[in-house]
């Protein structure tokens, strides 16, 4: 059964995850994911100072403190880059560790000074403790998630433009820097709101994991936002439920583990972009290349005395292809079943009419490309996939006719 308290916490972390997924999508595409991480770590000293200044645990004071020191951290990153020649990754590393170190020192100081009740409160800002969420916190979180949703829906077009091509956006007159700042502001909002539930160390994962996982499933930004938002929601909800019921571990790590599972499954099994699909694609690609090499070998063995057709021995083919003997036998058997080759009693092979046509077609395509690429090497990069596109479909008719004429003149046109 879900009691009222658990329901509040579940609703809170789900909304947090969904908002983080939406904003994280733009942050990841814009290459700002690491900045989100710096923001989370840099927020810790602010939490402690908020506590110290008020002398008691007040969510509002701590979150305002977190936001201020987080933003200060980002400004220091920007300042370091501008004033010195330090690269961004180094600047982020410096800010992240220095601010977080200061936060840890401050929290240790508070724990030795203050009364016992405060201790747990501060710890939850480091590793996250969603169970401590109250109805009032839920209000904050829903407001932040709603702000993220509204901003993304209203400014979808503007964010897409600025994230894809900032220079073009500026030429068109969009305030690219302000839109960028708004995006970073939303990132900081999500980070700060997520701090009590997920903790300073892991809050960036909430931004990065759903977005990175969503990218595997779609080629469209709108769909990516939907998927990332849903992944974030599932991540928050499942993480909270598991950490509340199965173990007494802090929520942050469990949420991140759930997110890691989503990401891992996406990276492996997503159609087209996933590792498995890419591997299958690669295997098919190699098989196609080797098959083409074999048919070319068949053609070139027959070519010298064409139109007379002589039988071809396995050894000759093994010599000219990259198949292992077992693979070659399998491929030949396959060709036999498709009526492309006929196996003679002496073990040699004769191509059928269809087999001969296949060999000629493959060889012609190969020689057209070969000719084209040696004549116009500067154009190699302009064709996306040489293995799939046939010369006839990728090149214009005139060029193909020219290439054919050149091959015919040499007597090499199949």
């Amino acid at each position: 059964m879900i009691d009222y308290n658990t329901a509040v916490v579940l609703a809170g972390t789900s909304m947090l995850g969904a908002g983080a997924g939406l904003i994280g999508t733009f942050a990841v595409l814009r290459g700002r994911a690491l900045l989100g991480d710096a923001l989370g770590h840099a927020a810790l000293p602010g939490v402690c100072l908020g506590f110290l200044l008020l002398g008691r645990r007040s969510l509002a004071a701590m979150l305002v403190g977190a936001w201020l020191s987080g933003v200060l951290g980002i400004l220091v990153v920007a300042g370091l880059r501008r004033a010195t020649r330090i690269k961004e990754d180094a600047a982020i590393g410096i800010v992240l560790s220095v601010f977080f170190g200061a936060g840890l020192a401050l929290s240790r100081y508070i724990q030795t000074q203050a009364t016992q009740g405060s201790k747990a409160g501060l710890d939850s800002y480091i590793f996250g403790k969603a169970a401590g969420m109250l109805q009032g916190d839920l209000l904050w979180i829903s407001a932040a998630a709603l702000a993220a949703l509204l901003a993304v829906v209203a400014l979808f077009k503007e964010f897409r433009l600025v994230t894809f091509d900032g220079g073009f956006a500026r030429v068109q007159g969009w305030p690219a820097a302000s839109l960028d700042l708004l995006l970073m502001g939303l990132v900081s909002l999500i980070v700060v709101i997520g701090l009590p539930a997920v903790g300073a160390v892991l809050v960036a994962a909430l931004l990065i994991l759903p977005a990175a996982a969503a990218r595997f499933w779609t080629e469209r930004l709108g769909m990516m936002l939907v998927v990332a938002g849903s992944f974030g929601l599932v991540m928050g909800a499942a993480g909270t439920a598991i950490s509340a019921h199965v173990s007494r571990a802090p929520t942050g790590p469990i949420i991140v583990l759930v997110g890691t599972c989503l990401f891992g499954a996406s990276a492996l099994f997503a159609p087209r972009r996933g590792a498995v699909a890419r591997w299958i694609d690669h295997v098919r690609f190699r098989r196609r290349l080797r098959g083409q090499a074999m048919w070319r070998a068949v053609y070139e063995l027959i070519e010298p005395r064409f139109p007379a057709i002589r039988p071809i021995a396995i050894d000759e083919l093994a010599h000219r292809t990259s198949y292992t003997p077992a693979q070659l036998r399998r491929v030949l058997r396959q060709a036999e079943m498709n009526d492309l080759l006929i196996r003679r009693p002496d073990g040699r092979y004769l191509p059928t009419a269809a087999g001969l046509a296949q060999a000629a077609r493959v060889t012609r395509g190969y020689r057209l490309w070969e000719r084209f690429l040696t004549e116009q090497p500067e154009l190699t990069s302009t064709f996306a996939r040489l293995d799939v596109e046939s010369a006839d479909s990728a090149l214009s008719h005139e060029i193909v006719a020219e290439l054919e004429a050149a091959l015919r003149a040499e007597g090499r046109l199949p």
Binding site: L29, A154, L155, F156, K157, E158, R160, L161, T163, F164, D165, G167, F168, R170, V171, Q172, G173, W174, R215, T218, E219, R220, L221, M223, M224, Q376, E378, L379, S381, T382, F383, A384, S396
Partner: protein, 252 residues
């Protein structure tokens, strides 16, 4: 007066990239910008468009500052300037050309989609409208950017190396497009790297090497003297230049 660049200097970390450039364009034409690597060709375009800060000087377009003339400007950035793995389709990118006219919050509708498709047809990519942009060849990506600029319905176009590393078909599309724009009375400034085709493509030429070496009608400005001044004693380039001049004489 279409374009007036006055005393413009651009510097990165105090190292000047463009130094005291004065350039005016009185009437619509096709303008090629040439010069050696690092001469500041792209920077000149970016300075005019306000994408890099000016250390000194000012730029006016049609008599006003560029900030006030945004709707009149079309822009084709270098192909390498964006992430082609970005999750958008070819049509999405071309639609971005209509964003300026739409203004805040409004989404592209049927009219904009039809117009974007028409622009894609003009560069020969209508069949690929639904593809993710990373699946295009280099030349097709370049044509997508061109279609986006056409979709802006601008008066003056700035193109940064639109013919660098593209196939013959794309180069032909760009060339035809330049002609169409010229017929419509538009002005196009093109950063160009191939000296052999300058005389064929451009009525005016701007020769740049940090300083403005020469600017004016191609037939009187694109001379051996000016090429030697622009490229210095670089032998290979001068061979190219000789070939370019020969090509010009043939076309005259």
């Amino acid at each position: 007066m279409i374009l007036d660049v006055h005393n413009v200097t651009v510097a990165y970390h105090r190292k000047p990239v463009l130094w005291d450039i004065d350039l005016t364009l009185q009437r619509p034409s096709l303008v090629g910008i040439v010069g050696p690597n690092g001469a500041g060709k792209s920077t000149l375009i970016k300075a005019i468009l306000g994408l890099v800060p000016l250390a000194s000087g000012r730029v006016t377009l049609f008599g006003q500052s560029c900030q006030k003339q945004r709707r009149l400007i079309g822009y084709v950035p270098q192909r390498e300037s964006v992430d082609w793995d970005f999750p958008v389709s070819v049509l999405d990118v071309v639609l971005m050309g209509t964003y300026g006219g739409l203004g805040w919050f409004r989404r592209p509708r049927r009219a904009q989609r039809d117009w974007a498709l028409e622009c894609l047809r003009r560069v020969g990519l209508a069949d690929l409208a639904g593809r993710q942009i990373g699946q295009l060849s280099g030349g097709q990506q370049q044509r997508t950017f061109l279609a986006r600029a056409i979709a802006q319905r601008a008066e003056i176009y700035f193109m940064d190396e639109p013919m660098a590393g593209v196939d013959a078909a794309t180069e032909r599309v760009v060339f035809e497009l330049l002609g169409e724009l010229r017929e419509q009375g538009k002005t196009v400034l093109v950063v160009h790297h191939d000296l052999r085709t300058v005389a064929e493509y451009f009525e005016q030429v701007v020769m740049l090497n940090m300083r403005l070496v020469a600017a004016g009608p191609t037939c009187t400005t694109f001379t051996h003297d000016n090429l030697a001044k622009t490229y210095g004693g670089r032998l290979g380039i001068l061979d190219d230049a000789a070939e370019a001049l020969a090509a010009r004489e043939r076309s005259v």
